[in-house]
């Protein structure tokens, strides 16, 4: 343990990795709770994969790939919302189409990019150990925006997410709020890809809120628990990957799933115990 602390202090890249996991955990806790509550996990998967198209195009034209991914992610998110709202296409079909299309575009442009082949494995699996200062600053900005918005507008966000049809009768700008949140979700996805990778991102957004659901009934509780669970999961996962020398993203996910299983077990046993004590009381009475 001591040597790890020493090494963290010694190596900038380890410090960066730790900061990145803290910042990603906060973003994922907030956005993941929103996604899970609104049942948009599949949508976030679609956006994640569609953004690969942006990465490919960016490489081809020599633009910053994060920017390319961001534009693609936001456009595909809005595209899915618009298609689904028009009700001519089912939402899950729209997601499936954009999911596949984005990946295809990405692969074609990466194939067409002459000469140096970028390390796309990083975008698939993340590269938390090569996170830079500017990556950290972007994540920090995202976290600040997310916290500020969810702090100031917590109730409207909660109520609009719960029942948009009712909110509309109260004359609140339902669509505007939904589009802003969707754009933020896309931004959170793209910036986290850098750290955890496309493949493992979805679990970061979905497993902690699902685990939190065992402990809390409220949206606020879900966000706070998710952040805590993400922090523990990423730290333990990082530590394990560093010690045993396995890929960090995969290690983090395994830790998440183990925590989910434990939470399920705990909630199941407490329920059994409660039923048994209540039965005993009935017996005695």
């Amino acid at each position: 343990m001591f040597t790890i602390l020493q090494e963290i202090l010694e190596y900038q890249f380890l410090q960066n990795a730790l900061w990145a996991s803290v910042l990603v955990s906060v973003a994922a806790g907030i956005v993941g709770s929103y996604i899970t509550s609104r049942r948009m996990v599949f949508l976030s998967g679609g956006i994640t994969h569609a953004s690969f198209g942006g990465i490919g195009i960016a490489y081809y034209f020599g633009i910053n790939p994060v920017m390319g991914a961001l534009v693609f992610a936001i456009l595909s998110a809005f595209g899915i919302e618009a298609l689904a709202n028009r009700k001519t296409v089912r939402e899950d079909s729209a997601i499936g189409i954009l999911w596949a299309f984005g990946m295809a575009i990405g692969i074609i442009f990466v194939f067409l990019t002459p000469g140096y082949a970028p390390n796309l494995m990083n975008f698939l699996f993340g590269s938390i150990l090569t996170v830079t200062q500017s990556d950290l600053l972007m994540l920090l900005a995202l976290d600040v925006i997310l916290i500020a918005l969810f702090w100031l507008f917590f109730n409207p966000i909660l109520f609009i997410s719960f029942d948009p049809e009712f909110a509309q009768t109260q004359k609140v700008p339902v669509k505007v709020v939904q589009y802003i949140l969707t754009a933020l979700m896309a931004a959170a996805i793209v910036l986290s890809i850098r750290v955890v990778g496309i493949i493992l991102l979805i679990s970061l957004f979905s497993i902690p809120p699902a685990t939190a659901n065992f402990f809390t009934k409220t949206f606020k509780g879900m966000i706070l628990w998710s952040i805590a669970i993400s922090l523990i999961g990423t730290f333990v996962g990082l530590l394990a990957s560093y010690r045993v020398n396995i890929p960090s993203g995969a290690a983090i996910i395994v830790v998440f799933v183990v925590m989910f299983a434990l939470a399920k077990l705990v909630s199941y046993t407490t329920m059994r115990v409660r039923i048994r004590t209540e039965n005993n009381k009935l017996h005695q009475a």
């Binding site: 507008f153 109730n155 409207p156 719960f162 049809e165 909110a167 009768t169 409220t218 949206f219």
Partner: protein, 256 residues
């Protein structure tokens, strides 16, 4: 009497299908309008049109200005597309009725929480306040939504079949409550229980692909037929056709 809203010759529907044709009605404060009509006649569509959830294909809906801080609509939907697994408590659902563009910041005040508690007490769901909505029965959820519709003291309360799911004891209480509330707000209520509502409402709107406004709470079988509204009023015992409903008679629409 002040006018709250006015619907002028409006047609509306979904996609290219016209559901309601040439609907006109004026709603004044202290109105209590019972909306009746067959299944699929367009009652819910009419309410959605009033509430602005559905835009008219033709014609216009005019809202008259509110006083400062007033809320126009309180709405109890017939069926809600809500997700029962959503992480939200009963108390928060009730408080969500206070959402408005002006109250967009910050958290709930003490006074608002107190008001929510009063309403939940009245609706008999106070003991469920901190439960999540997934743990409620259909009737309990309906009562919670009623509290949500009432909490902002709307000028116009819009209720789509409020008696579904609730037991008949609460249904009776509900109608008495509405009578009381009607002193402060206009009410529009859809119901299939034609017999019962006529003793509470002041006027009747028959909706079947169009709207016929009947400015009285007494309605006869012939009048219903002339409004193209195929509902059956059954009186038990006396008075075979010229129907004047007196308060105690139980009348049911569409038997069999």
């Amino acid at each position: 009497m002040n006018k709250i809203l006015e619907v002028n010759n409006v047609s509306a529907g979904y996609g290219s299908e016209v559901v309601l044709k040439n609907v006109s009605i004026e709603v004044f404060e202290n109105d209590f309008i019972g909306v009746i009509g067959p299944n699929g006649g367009g009652k819910t569509t009419f309410l959605k049109l009033l509430l602005g959830q559905l835009q008219p294909m033709q014609g216009a809906i005019h809202h008259f200005p509110l006083n400062e801080g007033e809320t126009l609509f309180g709405y109890l939907p017939q069926t809600s597309n809500i997700d029962k697994k959503f992480p939200i408590t009963v108390q928060d659902v009730v408080l969500s009725g206070l959402l408005s563009p002006k109250r967009f910041f910050g958290s709930h005040t003490k006074a608002n929480k107190h008001k929510a508690a009063e309403l939940m007490q009245m609706a008999g769901v106070l003991h469920l306040a901190s439960k999540s909505i997934g743990e409620l029965s259909g009737g309990q959820l309906q009562r919670t939504f009623l509290c949500r519709a009432l909490i902002a003291d709307p000028r116009l309360l819009v209720l789509d079949e409020p008696n579904t799911f609730v037991d008949n004891k609460f249904e009776k209480e509900l109608y008495e409550l509405l009578k009381e509330l009607n002193k402060q707000m206009a009410i529009i209520m859809v119901s299939h229980d034609v017999g019962t509502i006529t003793s509470y409402v002041k006027t009747i709107a028959c909706v079947n692909r169009s709207l016929h406004y009947h400015k009285s709470n007494k309605i006869s079988q012939q009048q219903l037929a002339s409004y193209d509204c195929p509902l059956q009023i059954i009186t038990h015992g006396k008075v075979p056709h010229t129907v004047l409903l007196d308060h105690k008679e139980t009348l049911t629409p569409n038997p069999k």
